[in-house]
């Protein structure tokens, strides 16, 4: 990695770390918590959807499961609100991993469109279980989290850092995978699974691993979310909208890239919260949101990062080569290029 890229990363991370100091206003930190949440979710989803090409629309199931897992753990061990509750988040992640292993074993027997729909089905099964196992989850009456005693203005800050930590973890894992043999295997699966299998890539094991890693991260993020809103209900925490949003963000930013999911989340989540707040009352907010959605997909089908990179490459080739556009016609590798 070049020195410039490293410097850029450091700057970005420093800004993220310092955000609560730069803008301590609770309205902003609230947006920051949700935005960082989606940065993590998009990055985690990308590990499965971006690298293997298996589009899961059911990740909201893991999100909700992680939430319930943490809530139940905190209740079981009678943990009061405060910093110690965060220590149980990895445990919630572990439980989510177990669930993901089970669901993944079933779901990965199918491919492409069937896989998509099967993940949706499993998500609704998780939601139904949350609703019906009333003795455990409280069903429609919801599940309460212990409320930390932090005061008004500062309340959001620990949650922001928790989300930042998870997002950073997700990004680190994604990066590690991307430049490893494992990652190469995943990309091979995306390009042509049967050929990959023929060449000796252990496709089933690789797919399952990516699925579990992706789901575990999502589960931990869900756990912190539940703790943040302090009270969860099945239909709001296993919410198809959350699942679709993370997918849209990855597509917006660039499927399979490293910074694409971050970009997608940073653009879409504040925009969604802002739109909902200012236009929700007029009911046309959904139409506006849908229009943005459609514009993005139709104009930038490959996402911002790949499209922009391509533009830059072509411009550079055009400027540096006296023969003009011909030089830029050598297309970069599909999707798998610049992080």
């Amino acid at each position: 990695m070049t020195a410039l890229k490293a410097a850029g990363l450091v700057v970005m991370f420093a800004v993220a770390l310092a955000l609560p100091a730069l803008a301590p206003d609770p309205a902003t930190t609230n947006i920051a918590v949700f935005t960082m949440m989606y940065v993590g979710l998009a990055t985690a989803w990308n590990i499965m959807g971006g690298y293997t090409g298996y589009i899961s629309l059911g990740h909201a199931g893991f999100f909700g499961f992680g939430s319930y897992a943490l809530g139940l753990l905190l209740a079981h061990f009678a943990i009061a609100g405060g910093y110690s509750a965060f220590l149980f988040v990895p445990l919630a992640g572990l439980l989510t991993a177990v669930l993901a292993a089970g669901i993944g074993w079933f779901a990965l027997r199918t491919r492409a469109a069937t896989f998509v729909i099967v993940t949706i089905a499993f998500m609704f099964m998780v939601q139904l279980l949350a609703e019906n196992l009333v003795g455990i989850t409280g069903g429609g009456r919801g599940l309460s989290f212990p409320v930390p005693p932090w005061s008004g203005g500062d309340f959001n800050i620990p949650y922001y850092y928790a989300m930042l930590a998870l997002a950073t973890l997700g990004l680190a894992i994604s990066w590690r995978i991307r430049f490893s043999k494992f990652g190469l295997g995943l990309l091979a699966i995306r390009d042509d699974e049967d050929k990959a299998l023929a060449v000796g890539v252990p496709t089933r094991a690789f797919k399952l691993t990516a699925f579990i890693v992706s789901a575990t991260l999502v589960g931990m993020i869900g756990a912190v979310y539940g703790y943040y809103v302090t009270y969860i209900y099945p239909q709001f925490v296993v919410d198809p909208l959350i699942g679709i949003s993370m997918v849209l963000m990855v597509f917006l930013g660039g499927l399979g890239t490293l910074s694409g999911p971050i970009l997608g989340a940073v653009i879409l989540e504040p925009a969604q919260l802002w739109l909902a707040y200012h236009f929700g009352a007029s009911r046309l907010y959904l139409v506006l949101y849908a229009s943005v959605f459609l514009l993005v997909i139709l104009l930038l089908p490959r996402g911002i990062i790949p499209s922009v990179s391509e533009l830059i490459t072509r411009w550079r080739a055009g400027a540096g080569d006296s023969k003009g556009a011909a030089g830029g016609a050598a297309d970069p590798l599909p999707k798998a290029i610049s992080p």
Binding site: L128, S144, Y231, P234, L263, P270
Partner: protein, 405 residues
């Protein structure tokens, strides 16, 4: 990578720019206009109720401004849509308080949304008078800033009904009862309490079922109630199932002697529209009915019709509940001679307040008490009227209810 970095940092910058400064908590100087912030469900599952709340709040703001304002502060209402979602309601109240810096807040629709919102509102020291969050979990979180503005705590809603049933002469009393309820924090506690009271009074339970709030197809459930052939049917419903059950009963030619639903039949046109004449005989616990004679109610009803049209029977109870919230705050601020949130919170825990739902006061956790309790309202001939207790009844209860077509 470089390009994406720039955009990402710019993204953070944008969020920075969208913020404001710190949050002052001083009360506004006398005479200045104030803003009251509310998160209402204008889209999503609760949107019918949300709209009614908005109408009630608006009508109250209009009335209070006509007499000079809240302690001489003209009131502007600010609404934001929470899309019936817990994530959005948390964001909404955070933004209303810290970004829009509203002076006061009123509550959203349903216990479901009130519970997460209440922790946020309490965190900033604001008073939270709310019209529609009355499930037991609302009050057991250790907050003292919530005030549930309805005549009685939710789990007692069906107590009047059980009293009436058990007061019937032995020959007429229903022998069996069927209970079906959502596992909603509002509906289930009421139905469970009614069941224990009626069982203690000698009415056998022939069917009892708790179903998930997210159920969308009630035909099978309704069929099971029909098969139980119970004399009395007690349903813990919100509006969608309140509509579906009677419809299915009519199709199966099942006419229980008495039927009561926890909410739905009190929603005026939203209930009678889809059901038509088959609203006949359906009861609902209600703290309010258009024809009640409580404080300021006829003025409220007349003004509502003048502003929004329709007939008295079309007015939803939610609108009256919202209006009551305003009335309570109006009276509390007059007594405390201040609209400072801290002072309002202390004031609201003492004294009795007069509303279109009758008189009420609040205990330490914000539960209403000392109110006259909840009455029974029944649809007769296309009108919803109070039928019990006799002190407020316009007509006697129709029992057994007339058959549906």
């Amino acid at each position: 990578m470089r390009k994406s970095l720039t955009v990402a940092v710019a993204g953070f910058g944008l969020t920075l720019a969208a913020c404001g400064g710190t949050t002052p908590t001083a009360a506004p100087s006398p005479g200045t206009p104030i803003t009251i912030g509310v998160s209402v469900s204008l889209t999503g599952d609760f949107s019918g109720d949300g709209k009614a709340l908005e109408q009630g709040y608006d009508l109250w703001a209009q009335d209070v401004n006509a007499k000079g304002g809240l302690l001489n502060h003209k009131v502007t209402m600010k609404y934001v849509d929470d899309a019936s979602s817990t994530q959005q309601v948390v964001t909404n109240y955070t933004n209303l308080i810290t970004s829009d810096k509203v002076d006061l807040v009123f509550g959203p629709f349903s216990s479901l949304l009130t519970i997460p919102a209440s922790t946020v509102v309490d965190r900033y020291g604001y008073a939270f008078p709310e019209p529609a969050g009355g499930g037991p979990s609302v009050f057991n979180r250790g907050l003292n800033s919530i005030f549930f503005v309805q005549p009685a705590s939710v789990e007692d809603n069906l107590v009047s009904y059980t009293k009436w049933l058990l007061s019937l002469p032995a020959g007429q009393r229903p022998a069996t009862a069927a209970y079906a309820t959502q596992d909603d924090p509002f509906t289930q506690p009421q139905v469970d309490k009614a069941k224990s009271l009626l069982e203690a009074g000698g009415i056998t339970t022939s069917y009892y079922k708790v179903y998930p709030a997210e159920t969308h197809d009630f035909t099978a459930l309704a069929q099971q109630v029909v098969n139980s052939k119970a004399d009395a049917v007690i349903l813990g419903t919100q509006l969608p199932d309140a509509l579906a059950f009677p419809q299915a009963f009519a199709q199966q030619h099942y006419n229980p002697k008495t039927i009561i639903e926890t909410t739905g039949p009190d929603q005026g046109a939203s209930f009678s529209g889809p059901l038509g004449a088959n609203t006949e005989g359906i009861m609902v616990p209600a703290g309010w009915t258009p024809s009640a004679t409580a404080y300021g109610n006829d003025k409220f009803v007349n003004e509502f019709i003048a502003k929004y049209g329709g007939a008295a029977a079309d007015i939803s109870a939610d609108a009256a509940e919202a209006y009551s919230v305003g009335q309570v705050v109006d009276q509390a601020s007059a007594r405390a001679n201040s609209i400072d949130n801290g002072k309002l919170i202390s004031q609201l825990h003492t004294g009795t307040y007069n509303t279109v739902q009758g008189p009420m006061s609040f205990d330490a956790t914000g539960k209403p008490q000392g109110g006259v309790g909840v009455y029974i309202e029944q649809w007769q001939g296309g009108q919803a009227i109070f039928v019990y207790p006799t002190s407020v009844a316009v007509k006697p209860p129709e029992y057994p209810k007339n058959n549906w077509q």
